[in-house]
């Protein structure tokens, strides 16, 4: 049993707001092996972004990690001293945000920013730092990187900016990159390019990646394993190919059936009724109960995340059966 790069156990991140306690992440467990890609899938309010932020220690008040452990190479990240966390961030773990504007300072040139990022963790000279920046830009497929160093963020297109953000994340050869919906705001063709680059990079560099998204097709192409989140908990977990081919949880199945393309054009899409419950007022028991056509009295108790087959876990009292699955998805 090889040691995992990242182990998250019982993570709970709550936000203590004026209106009440928002249990954004309420007990999340997963592990990521070295060199693998994990897809963290969910819709808005599922807690996937907060999970990503928690791993990087970017949760600000009124939010707080109340419980749980996040271990990177055996080192505990929760409650780590800020200075130690800063030393890790950017060097061992890096983040790519949905909006590259969160990473890029509009008044500094790309070269300046990247050199600053390099020298924050490595005591290199300015020239050496710029050289490393140039290499990083080349690695993410930016043409003529030497000239691009002098440019400012607004001179780049959205796709280019996101590539620069990825390049910055790669500057110190981190072991893990957490990417929070980095392609959601980009055009389809640009998204394709970025996904292509990420796949290449994970293969070439042995990079471990957590890719947070709501897009199942992206997960299908990019991720080795996936976790489906709903209302702050993981409801299904396993190898991506298996989960997508044979979903066990009614929510996962519902998501897959909602995607246009699964049904003949013009036909009625199988829809999940209702909407995500407010995280302020979660009903007791299974959070998906109100929208599930398989719910029963047993669902008043929260099901555990338990394995159904090897490596495929589901949190459900009535997971989709084998025969139903093949029928429904035919």
């Amino acid at each position: 049993m090889t040691a995992k790069l990242l182990e998250v156990r019982g993570l709970k991140t709550y936000f203590f707001t004026r209106a009440g306690v928002v249990k954004a992440v309420d007990g999340v467990d997963f592990a990521l092996a070295r060199g693998k890609v994990l897809g963290l899938v969910g819709e808005s309010g599922s807690g996937k972004t907060v999970t990503g932020f928690s791993i990087l220690g970017l949760i600000d008040p009124p939010g707080r990690i109340v419980e749980g452990s996040i271990k990177l190479n055996g080192q505990e990240l929760v409650n780590l001293a800020p200075a130690a966390l800063r030393a890790l961030r950017g060097r061992k773990i890096a983040m790519v945000f949905q909006d590259p504007a969160m990473t890029l300072n509009p008044v500094l040139s790309i070269g300046t920013q990247m050199a600053m990022a390099v020298r924050a963790h490595a005591g290199l000279s300015k020239r050496a730092a710029l050289a490393r920046a140039r290499d990083a830009l080349g690695r993410v497929g930016i043409p003529s990187p030497e000239e691009r160093l002098a440019a400012f963020p607004h001179q780049f297109s959205g796709g280019m900016r996101q590539r620069v953000a990825i390049a910055i994340a790669l500057l110190h050869d981190p072991e893990l990159i957490v990417a929070d919906e980095p392609t959601t705001a980009l055009d389809v063709s640009i998204q394709g390019q970025i996904l292509f680059e990420m796949r290449r990079l994970t293969r070439e560099l042995g990079l471990s990646l957590i890719w947070i998204t709501h897009d199942l097709a992206v997960v299908s192409g990019l991720a080795d394993d996936m976790c489906v989140m709903y209302a702050g908990r993981i409801v299904e977990r396993g190898p991506a190919s298996r989960v997508l081919a044979q979903p066990l949880h009614p929510y996962t199945r519902g998501l897959l059936q909602s995607v246009p393309g699964m049904v003949a054009p013009g036909g009625e899409l199988a829809q999940i009724p209702g909407s995500t419950p407010s995280l302020l007022r979660l009903p007791p028991g299974c959070a998906f109960r109100a929208r599930c056509d398989r719910a029963s009295a047993a669902c008043a108790a929260m099901p555990d995340l338990s394995p159904r087959t090897t490596e495929h876990d589901v949190r459900c009292h009535h997971p989709v059966g084998l025969d139903e699955r093949t029928e429904a998805l035919a």
Binding site: I190, A245, G261, T276
Partner: protein, 338 residues
């Protein structure tokens, strides 16, 4: 001779930044000053037949949103005209106004398209009241009817938009548009901001209402899967021009323009069989609309580009009955097939 319900006739839209005083003086003094202009839409001619849904697909900068706004009567075209049932949608002159209420729009952002200070019932009733579609006495009943038609409780009329979720707000937006009893509904990325599961609900609602009311629609989206699901015909746009137009199923099965093909290939595919598909991206960046490539706009990124593509912009030509595409490659095959 077109018999479409909506006729988009040779419409172009240019956004030009007027020269500042300094630049004008410099120009007089002989400096080479050019007006920077963006050709958001270039000579687009399209018809939407009664009862059909025409999908308008493209990426950012392609002009689909601008074209949608022009068709909606919000933005006047620089040249060309939009006609609904033969009559112009906007008036001429220096301050063009929208002349008809028979075209209505559902906007993309459900959080921004509803006035946060008005109650839902007022939002839906405002247009019909102003235009005499309903008397003040009938308003409550009218609003209640539309709310239940879009799947919302009639009690919600008294609430404010911020109390609703994104999907519910989009339903309210649809009710607002349809309460005006339009003949043509323009949907500008109506599900782009919604979660996948909510998206399915709204698309189903849209399809049902379209059937019940016999609506004609212009459906603008960047999502190829969604467009395929709802459109009878589809037009693909790139940098202000239409590059391909025809029945949806045919185009998705057998695209006749390299951009269409590349776009369809670059969309990540959800593999249900446990396999992994490779990503096949389109090369190159989207050119800036301020300086589009000469000749065919797509030639720098096209794997099949040749000399003519750099010089000459291809015109939309028929490649099959009811299908047109703007690509020089089709000329060759057309003539060889003839």
């Amino acid at each position: 001779m077109s018999s479409g319900l909506l006729e988009i006739d040779g419409v172009s839209k240019r956004f030009a930044r007027a020269l500042t005083l300094g630049e004008r003086i410099a120009g007089r003094l002989g400096a080479d000053v050019e007006t920077r202009e963006v050709r958001a839409v270039e000579r687009v001619t399209l018809d939407v037949a009664p009862g059909e849904t025409l999908g308008l697909v493209g990426e950012s900068g392609c002009g689909k949103t601008t074209l949608g706004r022009i068709a909606a009567g919000i933005l006047p075209p620089t040249s060309g005209v939009i006609r609904l049932a033969g009559r112009p949608v906007m008036s001429d002159g220096s301050h063009p106004r929208k002349l008809t209420t028979k075209v209505q729009t559902v906007f993309q952002d459900p959080f921004a398209s509803l006035n946060p200070r008005m109650r839902v019932g007022e939002i839906i009733a405002e247009g019909p009241l102003v235009h005499g579609l309903v008397t003040p006495a009938e308003t409550d009943r009218y609003v209640a009817e539309w709310l239940s038609r879009v799947g919302l409780d009639r009690e919600y009329a008294r609430r404010y938009p911020h109390q609703f979720s994104g999907g519910q707000r989009q339903r309210i937006a649809i009710a607002r548009a349809l309460a005006m009893q339009p003949d043509l509904l323009i949907c500008d990325e109506p599900v782009a901001s919604l979660d996948v599961s909510i998206q399915a609900q709204i698309l189903n609602l849209f399809l049902r209402l379209r059937r019940e009311l016999g609506l004609t629609c212009l459906f603008i989206s960047h999502d190829l899967g969604v467009v395929r699901h709802v459109s009878d015909r589809v037009a693909i746009m790139y940098l202000g021009r239409i590059v391909e137009l025809g029945p949806t199923a045919d185009i998705y099965r057998d695209p006749r323009h390299p951009y269409t093909r590349a776009l369809l290939d670059s969309v990540p595919v959800l593999a249900r069989d446990g396999g992994k598909r490779d990503f096949k991206p389109i090369e190159g960046e989207l050119p800036s609309p301020l300086s589009p490539p000469a000749g065919c706009h797509f030639h720098p990124r096209c794997p099949h580009a040749f000399e003519r593509c750099r010089r000459e912009a291809p015109m939309l030509a028929s490649v099959a009955p009811g299908r047109v595409a703007a690509c020089h490659l089709n000329d060759a095959t057309a003539s060889s097939a003839a």
